[in-house]
Structure formats: C-alpha cells, structure tokens
C-alpha cells in the first residue's frame, strides 16, 4: 500500500474495508496452512527433442543453448526436494541427450567430460560401458580435440570396468586416429602398457620397438624410459 504524500486519511476508508483486508490476509494464511506442498516426485529423464527443433529454439546461439542444456542435464539428478542416484537414470536416454548437446556445439568438451568423469563414476559396468561407448563413437569426429576424453575412457575401461580387451581397443583407436603432435606421446603409447598388462609381451615389444625406430620420440628422458621398458619386457619374455 502506498505511503506517498498527499494521501487521504485512513478515516476515508470504509470500516468494512478496513476489516476486509486483515480478514482476507488471515484467509490466505489459513488457505496456505491447509494446502501443504505436494510431495516431491522424481521425474524421469525425458526423451530429447528433434535436433531441428533445438536449432530453431537456439535462435542462432547454439553454443549457449548447448551449455544451458548441459547444466540442466547435470543437475537433473538434483530435482526439487530429492536427490537421485545416477544408477536410477536411464543411461541410454542420457547418452542421447549428450549426443544432441555435442551436436549443438561440436567444439564443446562439456558433454564428453560429463560422460567420462561424472556419469562413468556410477558403480555399474553396464552404465559405464554406455558412457565409454559414447566417447568412443564421438572421438574420431575430432581426435585432435577429444583425445584426452578417449585417454580417460581407456582408464575407465582398464581400472573401473576391468575389461582389458575394451581398454586395448580404445587405446589402439586413440593411437590410430591421432598423429604425433596431435596428442601427447603418453596417450598414444597407452596401448603398449595395456598389452604388457594383458601378457601380450611380443605384441607390446613389436609396438614399442617400432615406436623407437620411427623416430617419433625425440625427448631423451622419454627415449630412455621406453628403452628401459623394452628391456624389462624382453626380460619378462625370457623363459
């Protein structure tokens, strides 16, 4: 109610109206007290809309929309009043959303990071595989930019899922899709270490020897480390 100057006195307000106002306020308060908040209900992740619709809704600001959607997706497990564990999320639908967001802004690292560093933390190998597969499919589209997520996928496959064959396949794809200089040597050499872990010593030796002979490694410290590794593999391979 206004408190500015030049107002008429309270006596100008009819008595009935002076009673109506507090009575209506009491009525509103009692209405609120009689209608408690509805219990929070967990919502399922909805299916993503068609990409064309999102491009239209972005009004030319696809990178902005991609990030807004990513924030929405990231906090979907924290709905008003409840917190959902990742294992209750539909990971196939989640993957569709991540693909769509990455399609909106292919230069964004956000969906790949969220997939492998956030959603792949779920203690469920099936769900972890969905996220690893997402990164694996998206990596070849821009290997120079996305190698780090592929390297992380190798780590998840090797140490979280415990699937050495999958880790090896991922490490091999990481090496084959990147050229020297596009990704650091340690990432391109992951295949050798996984082969060694798998007991595939001959394959690891061939790969390591080829790498040393190719001249791709020029750093003296790194060369020394790899030569030492090759010697250790040869020692392990002797009867």
């Amino acid at each position: 109610m206004s408190r500015g100057g030049g107002e008429r006195s309270l006596a100008s307000v009819p008595p009935a109206l002076r009673w109506l106002l507090p009575a209506a306020l009491v009525l509103q308060l009692s209405w609120h007290a009689r209608h408690p908040l509805p219990a929070p209900q967990a919502r399922e992740l909805p299916p993503p809309p068609p990409p064309a619709l999102l491009h239209l809704a972005a009004f030319g600001e696809e990178p902005v929309l991609a990030r807004v959607l990513m924030l929405w997706l990231q906090f979907f497990d924290n709905q008003p009043g409840i917190s959902l564990p990742f294992r209750t999320l539909d990971y196939h639908r989640l993957r569709q959303w991540l693909e769509l967001i990455l399609q909106l802004d292919p230069r964004s690292h956000y969906p790949l990071l969220a997939a492998i560093r956030l959603y792949a933390l779920v203690p469920d190998p099936q769900r972890q595989r969905v996220m690893v597969d997402f990164v694996r499919r998206e990596f070849p589209r821009d290997p120079a930019r996305r190698w780090q997520w592929m390297a992380h996928a190798v780590f998840v496959a090797r140490h979280r899922i415990g699937d050495l064959k999958l880790a090896l396949a991922l490490a091999r794809e990481l090496r084959l899709h990147t050229r020297p200089g596009e990704a650091p040597d340690w990432a391109r050499q992951m295949e050798i270490f996984i082969l060694a872990d798998m007991g595939e010593l001959e394959a690891a030796k061939v790969l390591l020897g080829g790498l040393l002979e190719s001249g791709a490694v020029t750093d003296p410290g790194e060369l020394e480390f790899l030569r030492h590794l090759l010697e250790r593999l040869e020692e392990r391979g002797r009867p």
């Binding site: 009819p14 109206l17 009525l27 924290n78």
Partner: protein, 259 residues
C-alpha cells in the same frame, strides 16, 4: 441498487470497448494464428507424441501470453485514465469508489474470459475437450487473479514501470515458489550454514503470502490428457481467497487516493 448496477456494467462495457480499440483482440488473434503455424511446424518435425508436443507447447505459450497481455492492458488502461484526468472526474461525482473498482474488475474479467476462451478454442485441435475446458477455466482464474494483482500494484505504485516490474516479479515468484521451497528444504541444503537457513526462512515466509500459481493451468493436463474437476478445486479456492485479498489491497489504496 437498480442505479448501482448500470454504473458497474457501464464501466465494464467501456473497459471491453477500450480493449477492442487497443487492438487487444486483434493482437490475440494474430498470436493464435502464429501459434497455430508454430504448432504445425513442430508437429511436422516431431517423431512421436506429435499432438502432445503441439498441445503442450501451445498451452505453455498461450498461458504466458494471455496473462501477460491482460496484465499489460490493465496497467496501461488505468495509467491512461489517470493521465487523462478521467479518474479524477469520476471520483469528484458522489459515487462510491468501490463501484468504479468493481466495474473495472468486471471489465477485465470479461476481457480475460474472451482471451482464455480463444486460447482454449485453439487447443481443442490438440487435446480432448473435457481437459481443454478445465485448462481454460484454470487460465481464466489465473488471469483474473493476476488482474487483481496488477490493479493492486498500479494503485500502489501509480506508474507503468514500477507496477509492471512488480507484477512480473510477482508472477515469476508465484509460479516458482513451490519449487524454491522444495529446493530450500531439499538434500542439497546445508543445515549448518546460517545463510541457507535464513534464505529458507525467507522463502517459507514468501510462500505463505503468495498464491501457488505452479498448480494453475499446467501444460501436463494437455500433454497427458489427464485432468479432473478435483484438480480444479484448488485453483478455484486459491483464486477466490487471493483475489479477495488483492481486492482488499486495491480498494484500500483506491479509497486513500486523493482527488
């Protein structure tokens, strides 16, 4: 009594006429046609749940538009009358001010009813009529409630910009207060943080004073074709209670306004 009715009706009729002269219904029709085209376009690119998508999008958009345009009209029309000294002329006559108020409110109610009805008619293309009927009644209640809020804000602030800002803030807050309350008391809350405790108390306090507009006119009714008269009872009750409060606030300021 026989003399009172015509004045209220006359003011209401002039309010409707003013809406027509302001091209309000023409704008509404243009938006409905655009909405229809947009719904067809969205329907053409949807893979599945076509009608639900069209109904939901149209419903959410029309709800926001109808409430916004009616509030804008309420504020603009009253400010124009104020600037044209029409209100002063009317108040100088030996007539109780509440008749002017109820005449205006009846007029805005009729404008809201026509706008809601037009929106509902368009939605008949994408949702079953019983659901659309409930949705339309709910939209009418929401619009009338917001018209009383706009009148109260206008009589308080007496200027377009502050009144419009206050109405917009009120609407956004009233539509999100339930979610804000759930978040404030949800698992993310740190009970040891005094700032969060204060914020939760402020949000709780606001919830007591605001209508829960999140439970009005949900698009979910149209999308899932699920709504019953029991869903409408909260809407009708809250509209009655809160409109009474806003009418009280509006009349209080109107009676204190100098000539």
């Amino acid at each position: 009594m026989a003399e009172k009715r015509p004045l209220v009706r006359t003011i209401a009729a002039f309010t409707c006429l003013e809406a027509a002269r302001d091209r309000l219904f023409l704008i509404l029709l243009a938006v409905l046609v655009a909405g229809l085209g947009l719904a067809q376009f969205v329907g053409a690119i949807a893979i599945t749940e076509r009608s639900a998508l069209q109904g939901g999008l149209l419903g959410a958009g029309l709800r926001l538009f109808v409430v916004s345009i009616v509030c804008l009209f309420v504020i603009a029309s009253n400010v124009r009358e104020e600037q044209g000294r029409f209100t002063q002329l009317l108040f100088s006559l030996p007539l109780p001010r509440y008749r002017y108020y109820f005449g205006k409110l009846l007029g805005y109610g009729l404008v809201a009813a026509m706008a809601s009805l037009l929106a509902g008619m368009l939605l008949l293309l994408h949702a079953p009529w019983p659901v659309v009927l409930l949705w339309t009644i709910s939209l009418l209640c929401e619009t009338i409630l917001m018209a009383t809020v706009a009148l109260a804000c206008l009589f308080t602030f007496r200027n377009i910009l502050p009144a419009l800002s206050a109405v917009a803030a009120f609407y956004l807050l009233a539509r999100s207060i339930d979610a804000l309350q759930l978040i404030a008391h949800g698992p993310l809350r740190d009970p040891g943080d005094p700032a969060q405790r204060v914020m939760a108390a402020v949000i709780d306090g606001l919830a007591w004073l605001l209508p829960s507009l999140a439970r009005f006119t949900p698009s979910g009714w149209l999308i899932h074709a699920e709504a019953g008269w029991s869903d409408l009872s909260f809407v009708l009750g809250q509209t009655l209670v809160y409109s009474l409060l806003m009418v009280g606030v509006g009349l209080f300021d109107l009676y204190r306004r100098p000539l």
